[in-house]
Amino acid sequence: MLRAAAVIEKLGIPTASIIGSGFLKQAEVITKGLGVPLAIGVYPGAPMVDSEEVLARKVEETLAPGLLMGLTGEAPRAADAKAEPAAGQVVFSGTFDEVQEHFHRQLWTDGLPIVPPTRERIDAFLAYTERKPDSVIRAVPQEGREASTLSIAVTGVMAGCRPEYMPVLIAVIEAMCDPAFRIEDCGSTPGWEPVVIVNGPIVKELDFNCGQGMMRVGRQANTSVGRFVRMFLRNICGYRIPPGAGDKGSIGQSFLVAMAEDEETAREIGWPTFAQDRGFAPGENVVTVHSVVAITSPIYSGGDRAVDHVQQWAEVMGHSFTYWAHTGFKTGLWNPLIVAGPSIAKAIAGEWSKDEVRRYLYEHVKVTAERATHYARMTSTPTFSLEGLVKDGILPPEYAASSDPQRLINVIIKPEMIGILVAGDPGRNQSRAYMGNHMQGPPTSRRVELPRDWAQRIKAKI
């Protein structure tokens, strides 16, 4: 929200922004990154739970006077910027424990011990890319810091990655820096988490787990790449939970270990891989970053017909995701991701293509218009209207096909928004589905650039 205020303020028009008191620390971090001081009027507490009377009193006594002062009083001034070290500068020397304490006090860790980022370790990472350490992908919200090659290497070291993961880490940050991914929304209150999905020969070469226990902490590649993402968001972007600030995930969730696809099974059953669905050629090394705001229970399904399994997916996804789908309706976008167990995928693929699966889910997961509207209004949007969203061209016409509040509408906006990944336990009949957070963190992919001598270097590692 403050991004819009900054645009206006930079035009030379004074602004005053309405901020809930619970957002003040985040506002402070964001304002520094925007580069213009902003006046704020504070609404004490949470407006969504106040009565009309209480709300009116808070506006009269606190918010409105603050806004008026912001427009008519002294212009806000930026806090004095603290001098910072140069990139690549040694900032501390000490034992392992002393390093941990120092980093912990500076809010540079995620609460777990980090691998000390020494020059030697960082150089080992940089040796896996032809990019210069000071090359910058872009400056990233919220603090406006540079996503540089060096920052990726330092964060990779700290997160416990191996140097040879560096090409993957660069591709991950490139994807997250794509404007379509909306890295500026990684600290929003739903507390969504990016998950990395890996495709291509590097799944095996780097020992990613795409089988049983794929989403457990425990395999170095999956675990440390997942931890890297959260640590990058914390240190380079500035998304920190208290006693820091910037990450406003109200409850939030832990980092997600990276996913990888069981491409052998996908090929065997004749389904395109997840990366092929996203337009890449077979055999290309690709990472995709995808927001996850909710996860279903494990979905067990039995039978030798495709419908036996996909019907079960539809039911469980419907129960788990219907409530939050209104956020997708507001933005015209949300992406479900199904991790199909290999045995299940095999049973389905005997009869249906992936597109047929998508079509079935699209047609069978439903909610009444009345419930979707109710959920939206409870969350934050008092003016939510399916008819209005259709009129604005955000939703397809069928969402306003009648005025009956009990009419059933599709929870999934378009079949092609569904991602399907084959992975998990080949010895069990289990799948699981993941929900993206509307237009925040839609699946965004990048090809992994490997160094020219990759094959020899990986061979030498094995």
């Binding site: 929200m1 819009a4 922004s17 034992t95 810091r145 955000i394």
Partner: protein
């Protein structure tokens, strides 16, 4: 804080690099304020969440009580800058603000 396992002098020392990166933020001063809002036009810019439809009229009333000749342009004129069209709407703001000859803006609600 005392560490539960105090280090011994035999332990290696690590020279560690700064784990953050350079800030690339160009600082701009805030716009001059307007002590007298009489005769000025104030834009209401809303992201369509968190009861702004109730809050904005109350704020408008409060300001009008102190500056009776202040004028307001409602949030419908500017669009929801938090929704599906966020980037287009923010990009269009400068032209819309100029078209309405806006002198000041109230932006909400959230962070």
């Amino acid at each position: 804080m005392t560490h539960p396992n105090p280090p011994t002098t035999r332990e290696p020392h690590y020279d560690v690099l700064w784990p953050l990166s350079r800030k690339a933020v160009k600082a701009t001063a805030a716009a001059p304020r307007i002590p007298d809002l009489n005769g000025k036009t104030i834009a209401e810019v809303w992201d369509a969440i968190l009861r702004g439809d109730t809050i904005y009229p109350l704020v408008r009333e409060y300001i009008k009580a102190r500056f009776p000749r202040a004028k307001f342009v409602g949030y419908d004129e500017f669009g929801n800058f938090h929704g599906a069209r966020e980037r287009e709407i923010v990009a269009a703001l400068p032209d819309k603000l100029r078209a309405h000859r806006i002198d000041a803006a109230i932006v909400g609600v959230g962070a």
